[in-house]
Symmetry: C2
Subunit: 344 residues, 2 copies
């Protein structure tokens, strides 16, 4: 059974929940819209199910809803941001806005950000860059340890996603966002809540055996990496780029505090050539990919970001479906803060 809620009323509810722990209005709005947006783009694992995790962090004192990020080091093409244990969405949005501003003036910019809570969908940040006409890149560590390096049977690494986005001449924005782990932890949580088995090759149980039961992960198992040793190497490199370089911690470190570290890049598409030529080539690539001969049974070849965009268009016209256990988790957080859901 699932609960159906309109996006606007869910956003309003989530906003009020965050305000109940003294999150300033603007930040609570940002958080709510990002979590609901994840549902609309089909990334349910990064949706309102995360509220419980954020509230737990707040109770544990590792998340400060009122904290503001501060710039610690900066130059024309770089900056580093200390999130001061703020919401990841708040600090990372601040960091990407800074990267965008500097890249617009100086051609490119990299911005690190550390000491923050979970950032949500990494793709949201590179999309910000692309919406401002820039190429965006993002690396993200932390959130773990959840993933075993190639050859290991215990958790050492985060799921460590990467994201890229590019603008085009038309309004089309291409976004990719994927973990170097074989699956995101949130997807295991959803399968567990639904009581469903997961695909083979995603996790190990606590003894290092292959399993399709998501409960085995929560019983001391570990997530595998995408493409074996290659995803493992990528994940390790992301620990360095997104964690160590900006001065954050890696999931395996003794002094690791639950949260993420990020490294953002923003680059002007006309840094090296005319924007019109860049746009023309993006269109050529789009035609070559989406117009390729289809494999048997395939209806459409998608360009990166199109499935999420189509999903967004479709779901924006419908109500959001939450499974009962997810809604129970979310609404019990609201209840504990005397925030009641009001269907409009």
């Amino acid at each position: 059974m699932s609960i159906q809620i309109g996006a606007d009323e869910l956003t309003d509810y989530v906003k009020r929940v965050f305000q109940a722990i003294e999150t300033p209005c603007k930040q609570a709005e940002l958080l709510a819209s990002r979590l609901v947006r994840a549902h609309l783009r089909g990334h349910t694992s990064h949706g309102v199910i995360r509220i419980k995790q954020y509230m737990d962090a707040h109770k544990a004192g590792t998340l400060d809803p009122k904290a503001k990020p501060t710039v610690e080091v900066q130059g024309p093409c770089y900056a580093n941001v200390n999130g001061n244990r703020s919401f990841g969405q708040v600090a990372a949005t601040f960091a990407m806005e800074l990267a965008i501003k500097k890249a617009k003036s100086n051609g490119l910019c990299i911005v690190g950000c550390y000491n923050i809570n979970h950032v949500g969908c990494l793709g949201d940040y590179v999309q910000m860059a692309a919406e401002q006409g820039l190429v965006g890149m993002a690396f993200c560590n932390g959130g773990g340890p959840n993933v075993s390096p190639f050859g290991a049977r215990e958790r050492v690494l985060g799921v460590n996603p990467v994201a890229f986005a590019t603008p085009s001449g038309s309004s089309r924005i291409s976004v990719i966002d994927f973990t170097s782990g074989a699956t995101a932890e949130g997807k295991l949580r959803l399968a567990k809540n639904k009581g469903e088995a997961i695909s083979e090759g995603l996790i190990l149980d606590k003894d290092g055996n292959a399993t399709t039961d998501p409960n085995d992960f929560y019983d001391g198992g570990a997530i595998l990496t995408i493409g074996g040793h290659r995803g493992s190497a990528l994940s390790i490199m992301i620990e360095i780029l997104a964690g160590i370089l900006p001065g954050g911690r890696c999931s395996a470190f003794e002094d690791y505090v639950e949260g993420n570290g990020v490294l953002f890049f923003a680059i002007k598409p006309d840094l090296f050539r005319k924007k019109a030529d860049f746009d023309k080539d993006i269109d050529l690539l789009y035609s070559a990919v989406t117009g390729a001969k289809k494999a048997a049974g395939v209806e459409r070849i998608w360009f990166p970001g199109e499935p999420e965009e189509e999903c967004y268009k479709k779901l924006s016209r419908e109500k959001i479906k939450l499974n009962e256990k997810t809604w129970e988790t979310v609404s019990s957080v609201g209840d504990s803060l005397d925030v009641s859901f009001e269907a409009t």
Copy 2:
């Protein structure tokens, strides 16, 4: 059967072969040492087997052995290099040297490079950055079309590798270098030469069926991507970063000329924090990864770059083994140019 040749005598021979088509001495030395280095690091697919490909490009007029790369656009933290159809190794080495120089002065630098022949092992370039104490990143497109986007059954994309390298406090340099295609084309060529089958899940035949016969690739088949839709999205993004951004061509374009496009990043590890703290954290991560509990049957958990480094140490003490067909291909190129191999 295999032929055994010392690294030095093979390097000398390869250098003389390139000099025979009027490659300047220094460039011929660079090419020879890079191709032989690939064997010593276990990347046989990027070794001397490539000589034939380069000679074919020279005959076709798409490779100019005497060409020098030129800087077309530059600022404190960026530059773009036109390779003028030079050897990829020559232009890309020039581009990474420029990135290193600018990053040392200004904290970071990105350098694009286009209009070049095949660059060889992408890892070689990020290793240059790490040897100079910088974090290196590289994206590379072209060399195709060889890879089918997710859902397609024809070649559209290049194998499009990425590479990263980081320095550490000790002399240890960590390098990763992998294709977003499920395999490198050179590996298929080697399997074909050896008459061996390849693993499942790497290629499709010309009708879109799964196959383990490398000949099916050369008969109109296509390479798949790593991790299905994720590798496909990554590969498409690399076409944009390494091809379209610097102004090069994508493998699928009508005006594509055989060769690569690259985008290099060099970043100072002390851009945001003290180098000593960066180094200490790299060591912590190294211990966490390599000291993790091992899965059954695993003897050692490797940090990125270690297998190649160990291979290099071992093979540097031995002769290089080339399979008969590879040596036949290489030596027939030498013979056609009146360059004879002289065992020392």
